[in-house]
């Protein structure tokens, strides 16, 4: 990304939140939503723009589970490992996705098609185990269904 683009993108988000330091989490959420992850240059720009030390921005960016400092795949898979999903066998679903894609949780596929993450409950417990891909909820998942579901995402 070019310097100019980084500056513009960050400035837009900071403007939206009126350069309010206390909204750092929201600011990082928006940047991540737009770019898929938090690029280093953008964190530096946030630090300058808000006049908050980079160390603070970094500590917030690494504290919260929702943020990633590395690029992510086109489709984010979130396997719910909340308790309701756990007692219905979410671990086995996660294991099958890991085998199918040849990656572990927290990793990207080499072609950047998928990123695999886990989440601790999305509150759709009636349908557990739940797998969320992008914005789609796939309920009542089983290891057998994994392959067919993944085929829908390119």
């Amino acid at each position: 990304m070019e310097v100019k683009e980084v500056k513009e993108k960050v400035a837009r988000v900071l403007q939206k939140y009126r350069h309010d330091k206390s909204l750092l989490v929201d600011i990082l959420q928006d940047i991540q939503a737009e770019n898929g992850y938090l690029p280093r240059e953008m964190l530096e720009e946030v630090s300058r723009g808000l006049d908050v030390p980079l160390s603070r921005v970094y500590s917030v960016a690494t504290f919260f589970k929702a943020f990633s400092l590395k690029p992510r795949g086109r489709h984010l898979i979130n396997v719910c490992l909340g308790t309701a999903c756990h007692v219905r066998g979410a671990d086995r679903v996660l294991g099958q996705i890991e085998r199918e894609l040849g990656i572990k949780k927290g990793e990207n596929t080499p072609d950047l098609r998928f990123t695999l993450e886990t989440v601790n409950c999305v509150g759709a417990c009636a349908l557990g185990p739940i797998v969320i891909i992008g914005e789609d909820y796939h309920g009542e998942m089983t290891p057998e269904k994994v392959s067919a579901v993944l085929k829908n995402y390119n």
Partner: protein, 563 residues
């Protein structure tokens, strides 16, 4: 919309809204909570709208998108008012038939009705479904009646009438009323709400803040989300009343980013309040100023702990601090701050409208009112249930929840989230309230209720929760950071057949250390799953350790031995 300038104008607006509505006009409500979303309610809603247009029924029938009805297991849910016909598992292909038969001819489409699994009988009306019959839905009930994106709908069901009443009371009178109601915080600890308000009001500070804690991190609990998503104005009205009583001019809603629909709906509701003059300067001519801001979380369980939440609100990592001084004295930016949970705030308008005497009739001696539980896990009727305090666990699990599916046996119910405890079958007849749950070695928590059948291994569950909490520990204090790691290692060893004599005692010792020495509530309650499983299911631990056998057949002990 013009800003309302007085209490009279508010009442006039409500009257005109109600007058403009025909209570006898047919209204098809489609549940659009997250649970139903996951089951495809969006397409169902769109199909209804299209089909109504196509069949030219717009004059005859309204389509209303409603909040969560609670019976998530059977979604997408459709309720046709005013006859109250209850259809479940509705798919797009069913819609022309519903419109032609039920709306057109007044016939019931019997295949979409709920069947009582015990009697095989088809049930037509929502309130006759056993899942709803034993509930007392004073807080959650309006969810199904209103479109969460419409402030008019909220006015029509009596919304902001409590605010009108409160603005004619003194702050002290309001606090007295809340104290008298016996309301205790619904976030988990059960601190008396009125007392908390009073100490924040009395504390000295340049500014005072109130916060709605919507960082509902307990896996398996989603009642707060469904409230704020399905009836955001009820929470906001509670906050307005609280702010007036406490003397605060700035409120915050700290909400999980994992709940996108709730974030959207509450932001819209705040916008509507600002437009109409229910937020901002000189609200309804009372001279009282108040604003609310929404902050999203970043997926950290510990941020539900109030001091961690405050740190996060200040733009810092969400690490808790020791509570020698409570937030009601020094909270956000060092100022007196009152933090209440979503469900607590939603209770406020009810108490003010109906009075403390009415409210305190519901519930038990020490726990008043109702509580919403998320009934999930190995249970037939998954969903959100609102019950009076004091109901027994057996009634919740069997009468409302419909028991355990697949003909299996009940083993335990976990309440209070990851740092709650397991309750065995022998305690099922215990009344559910703050004090009884604590006595049983668990806690109320935010209201997750995870039912486990005989195929669930208690040692594995203890390992699961400990590993969850280890991951969510912020790492600031040693007992929690190191203790949970050690406990998880021991538990993992037990589940793979490497358990040793003395492991149980060591787990008990580590647990006691965490209870005594951890900095915040996360660490202090983290050993609950381990302690309660040892207390009630010690035989399972011993089977793993001595006999190298998992009675539930979950743990891969055999494999470990073969290696």
């Amino acid at each position: 919309m013009t800003r309302l300038k007085s209490l009279g104008e508010l009442e006039a607006l409500r009257k005109s809204i109600i007058k403009g509505r025909d209570p006898n006009k047919t209204c098809i409500t489609v549940c659009n909570g997250t649970g139903c979303h996951a089951q495809g309610c969006k397409n169902v809603t769109a199909a209804f709208q299209e089909e109504v247009k196509r069949q030219n029924l717009a004059g005859k029938v309204d389509i209303r998108i409603s909040g969560c009805h609670g019976f998530c297991e059977r979604g997408p849910l459709v309720v046709i008012k005013p006859a109250d016909i209850f259809y479940q598992r509705v798919r797009v292909k069913d819609i022309p038939e519903i419109l032609a038969e039920t709306i057109g001819k007044g016939n019931i489409v019997s295949r979409l009705l709920y069947t009582n699994p015990k009697t095989g009988e088809k049930i037509v009306h929502e309130n006759e479904v056993p899942f709803y019959q034993r509930q007392k839905r004073i807080i959650f009930g309006n969810n199904g009646l209103i479109d969460p994106t419409s402030i008019d709908d909220y006015f029509a069901v009596g919304g902001y009438a409590a605010l009108r009443k409160a603005l004619q009371m003194t702050p002290e009178q309001i606090i007295e009323e809340i104290k008298k109601s016996g309301l205790r915080g619904r976030g988990g600890a059960g601190f008396p709400t009125g007392n908390k308000w009073e100490s924040t009001r009395r504390a000295k500070g340049d500014a005072k803040y109130i916060i709605c804690n919507s960082d509902e991190g307990d896996p398996g609990a989603y009642m707060d989300r469904s409230l704020i998503e399905g009836n955001p104005h009820s929470v906001l009205e509670g906050m307005l009343i609280g702010a007036f009583a406490i003397g605060s001019h700035q409120g915050y809603i700290y909400i999980r980013n994992e709940y996108p629909l709730a974030v959207k709906n509450v932001r819209l509701a705040i916008q509507q309040m600002e437009d109409i003059g229910l937020l901002g300067k000189d609200i309804l001519g009372s001279g009282f100023d108040f604003n609310i801001r929404v902050n999203r979380g970043g997926g950290a369980f510990v941020c539900g702990e109030e001091t961690a939440l405050l740190a996060s609100l200040e733009g810092k990592p969400g690490e808790p601090r020791a509570k020698y001084i409570y937030p009601s004295e020094r909270g956000l930016w060092g100022q007196p701050t009152n933090v209440n949970n979503v469900e607590t705030w939603a209770n406020i308008p009810l108490i003010i409208s109906n009075g403390a005497d009415w409210y305190s009739q519901i519930g038990t001696e020490g726990s008043k009112g109702t509580k919403i539980f998320a009934l999930v896990g190995n249970i037939t009727n998954t969903g959100l249930v609102e019950v009076p305090m004091g109901i027994t666990l057996r009634e919740i699990v069997y009468d409302i929840g419909g028991g355990i599916p697949k003909g299996r046996r009940f083993k335990a119910v976990q309440t209070g989230g990851p740092s709650g405890g397991m309750i065995p079958e022998s305690l099922l007849d215990m009344p559910v309230d703050f004090d009884e749950l604590t006595k049983a070695g668990s806690m109320m928590g935010s209201g997750g209720m995870i039912v486990m059948d005989e195929k669930t291994c208690m040692v594995d569950m203890a390992r699961y929760y400990t590993s969850f909490l280890e991951g969510e520990s912020c790492g600031k204090c040693v007992p929690c950071r190191e203790g949970l790691q050690r406990m998880r290692e021991i538990l993992t060893n037990i589940t793979i057949g490497k358990g040793k004599k003395g492991d149980i005692e060591l787990l008990e010792e580590l647990s006691a250390t965490l209870v005594d020495a951890a900095l915040c509530a996360l660490g202090g309650t983290a050993p609950n799953p381990v302690m309660s499983t040892i207390r009630h299911f010690r035989d399972e631990y011993e089977a793993h350790i001595k006999e190298k056998r998992c009675p539930a057949g979950v743990c891969n002990i055999g494999k470990a031995r073969a290696k």
